[in-house]
């Protein structure tokens, strides 16, 4: 227990040491020659990407460079035209969204996709699908057993929400529709985290929020990651402050191709990246 705490502090204390440690960690996910075409448009062009266990990887690039498409192909919403996705030792190329989720990948969406008329608790429980008993008999007839599972799930969900925002944890049965954007983002991230995934895909978590709100949300994400051993994260983001602060490594896409890779400092000094973003000739 003590030792574990010490290593965590050591990790947090020196990013260099942490990065070194990550380099030794196992590969969590990889994309090999991943290609996705929409008619004549090549959204992903032989993309090669590797993510290690416990790493936070930033995925950046101009609009339409294929970041969200990458998420959609990995999570099985779009089938890939070519190439492979490997996750945790298994080939998950073109697996159904359901099996990708069961394999341990959870995501958030660019446009917040919560079920607005449902309560905070309901929305989070949608993400908990794999861990809930879905049997008809259990749900309809053995209500005592159901109640026990319900109470346990409620506690877990409440604790998770509490990390993000304590007052929100007291309003678990409020409909999501009445909440401001930052709370919706929090709930969306809780919905993805409740199933304790191995990989979290965050698609523009800062969209529609102020700088302060974004900073706050990133603090919370880092705190949660500290509690969930081995959670890897890929984050798509336009807010460079966010990328600089929380990622350990970045991959830059342009027209579906990887044009640079490295720490934020490395890629921000990269000439090709500057051209892609600023259009310097």
């Amino acid at each position: 227990m003590n030792a574990a705490r010490k290593t965590k502090r050591a990790r947090a204390g020196s990013p260099a040491a942490a990065r070194k440690k990550k380099a030794e960690a196992a590969v969590m996910m990889s994309a090999e020659k991943l290609t996705k075409r929409f008619g004549g448009v090549v959204a992903l062009d032989s993309l090669e990407l590797e993510l290690r266990q416990g790493e936070i990887l930033g995925l950046i690039g101009p609009n339409g460079s294929g970041k969200t498409t990458f998420f959609n192909v990995v999570t099985g919403i779009y089938p890939a035209n070519d190439g492979h996705v490997r996750f945790d030792g298994a080939d998950i190329t073109n697996a159904s969204p359901q099996s990708v989720y069961h394999a341990g990948i959870a995501r958030t969406f660019q446009r917040s996709r919560l079920s607005l008329p449902l309560s905070i608790f309901d929305n989070i429980m949608i993400g908990n699908h794999a861990r809930l008993n879905q049997g008809l008999w259990f749900n309809l007839i053995s209500r005592a057993a159901f109640k026990q599972e319900f109470e346990e799930s409620f506690e877990t969900a409440r604790e998770l929400v509490h990390i993000f925002d304590a007052p929100l944890a007291d309003r678990m049965f409020d409909p999501v529709a009445g909440l401001p954007m930052i709370d919706r983002r929090r709930i969306e991230i809780c919905r993805a985290l409740i199933s304790q995934p191995k990989l979290l895909l965050l698609d523009e978590p800062s969209a529609g929020m102020t700088h302060e709100e974004t900073a706050q949300l990133m603090d919370d994400i880092l705190e949660v990651r500290g509690r969930m051993e081995g959670l890897s994260i890929i984050i798509v983001e336009h807010e460079m402050g966010v990328i600089e602060r929380i990622t350990e490594r970045c991959v830059v896409l342009n027209f579906g191709r990887k044009i640079a890779e490295g720490t934020f400092k490395q890629i921000s000094n990269d000439r090709e990246v500057q051209e892609a973003y600023l259009g310097i000739e």
């Binding site: 959870a106 995501r107 008329p117 449902l118 008809l136 749900n139 209500r143 159901f146 409020d174 919905r191």
Partner: protein, 388 residues
């Protein structure tokens, strides 16, 4: 009930008084014959609702009753029994009451499909008819006990409904609705040309008989003589309570949550592991099962089934009840069914125009109050439950 005390010391008295008044009101409405009296009563009812909702009494009574749900259930059952008891000899009114209850049962099924899973079913009356025809055939030609025949009506509706599963699963939204419309039209034509099922004349359905108790005989207890419809009403009330409890539990479980999730956002739902096919099939079959049971009971009560009773127009009435009541709210169904079935029956003047009226009502509803008369509240898995 120590749970509710902290925030709202929800007193039950206004709710109890309201229930008593409602029972008296319904009895009066069913009792009066003259058109002016009916119109007068309807105006009084509308004004009373407006006044109590303006003064906040209606909301408070509703709140108190949702806090003490078991009391609400008992009150409603008590109210139903009082009304049945009051009209114990009046065949016509009792038949009207069975119609209301059977429509509630059928729309409970429709609500599972449309209100929860978002699968529009415009063939409700057809599945109702399948239940009725099953009762007719099994009742006349086999020694199957009536209780099983009722279940068989539901099972047949679910089985025949599974023909529609493939097209319903492959299409979304309006397109799935079109598939069910086609089925409704085909079903009626099929019945009309099919001589084995009696063609356009339809079939006789033998009355119910359970454990030697013949339902089509009037009940005589000493000097008291009750209409034979009371037999049916009691059985239907029991079936309705069971179905209501089933739908309620389903809504307040992970199953209900799954159905909501897939209705609201199918893509997001699949990304969290939901098996869309499994839950759509569950909702569609279970919904048709309830509709079929209602149909079988209806066939037995009325004594005959014919294609003209199960038209597309009847399906539309079922759908409009769900829309009017408040999509996904089971109490809304009860209220909307009562309005849609009883008012045209009492107001002779509008009977000719009832379809026009339904259409106008649904359009006004969708324009000005799309959530229905009783909007569906947020799910509480165990009413009154509070986190520790």
């Amino acid at each position: 009930m120590n749970s509710g005390e902290k925030q709202t010391p929800a007193t039950l008295w206004p709710a109890l008084a309201g229930t008593a008044l409602t029972i008296v009101y319904v009895i009066l409405l069913l009792k009066v014959e003259s058109q002016t009296e009916v119109i007068g009563l309807l105006v009084v009812g509308a004004l009373a609702i407006l006044a109590t909702s303006w003064s906040g009494h209606l909301a408070r009574a509703g709140q108190a009753l949702t806090h003490h749900e078991s009391i609400l259930h008992l009150l409603v059952i008590f109210g139903a029994l009082v009304i049945i008891g009051f009209f114990r000899e009046d065949h016509f009114t009792l038949l009207l009451l069975t119609t209301v209850m059977l429509y509630v049962l059928a729309t409970l099924g429709l609500n599972l499909q449309f209100g929860y899973a978002g699968v529009l079913n415009f063939a409700g009356a057809s599945f109702f008819g399948i239940g009725g025809y099953t009762a007719a055939v099994l009742g006349a030609h086999t020694p199957v006990p009536d209780l099983l025949i009722i279940l068989a009506g539901g099972v047949m509706a679910a089985l025949i409904g599974s023909i529609l599963l493939l097209p319903v699963l492959r299409t979304r939204g309006h397109y799935a609705a079109v598939v069910t419309i086609a089925f409704a039209l085909l079903f009626k034509v099929f019945l009309e040309v099919n001589d084995i099922l009696g063609g356009p004349q339809g079939l006789q359905v033998p009355g119910m008989e359970m454990f030697g108790w013949k339902f089509n005989n009037n009940i005589e207890i000493g000097a008291l003589e009750l209409s034979f419809y009371v037999n049916y009403l009691i059985v239907i009330l029991l079936v309705l309570i069971a179905a209501f409890a089933l739908v309620r539990r389903l809504e307040r479980s992970w199953v209900g949550l799954n159905l909501d999730a897939l209705r609201l956002d199918e893509t997001a739902a699949t990304c969290f592991g939901l098996n869309i096919v499994r839950w759509k099939v569950t909702a569609f079959l279970l919904g048709n099962f309830l509709i079929g049971i209602a149909g079988a009971l209806s066939g037995m009560v009325i004594g005959f089934v014919a294609p003209t009773s199960f038209t597309f127009a009847d399906s539309l009435i079922l759908v409009s009840i769900v829309l009017l009541g408040g999509i996904g709210n089971v109490w809304g169904l009860v209220l909307a069914t009562a309005i849609v079935v009883i008012i045209p029956e009492k107001l002779q003047a509008i009977q000719e125009y009832r379809f026009l009226l339904y259409a106008a009502m649904v359009m006004l509803m969708l324009l000005f109050r799309p959530e229905g008369l009783l909007p569906r509240p947020v799910r509480h898995y165990f009413p009154g439950w509070r986190p520790k």
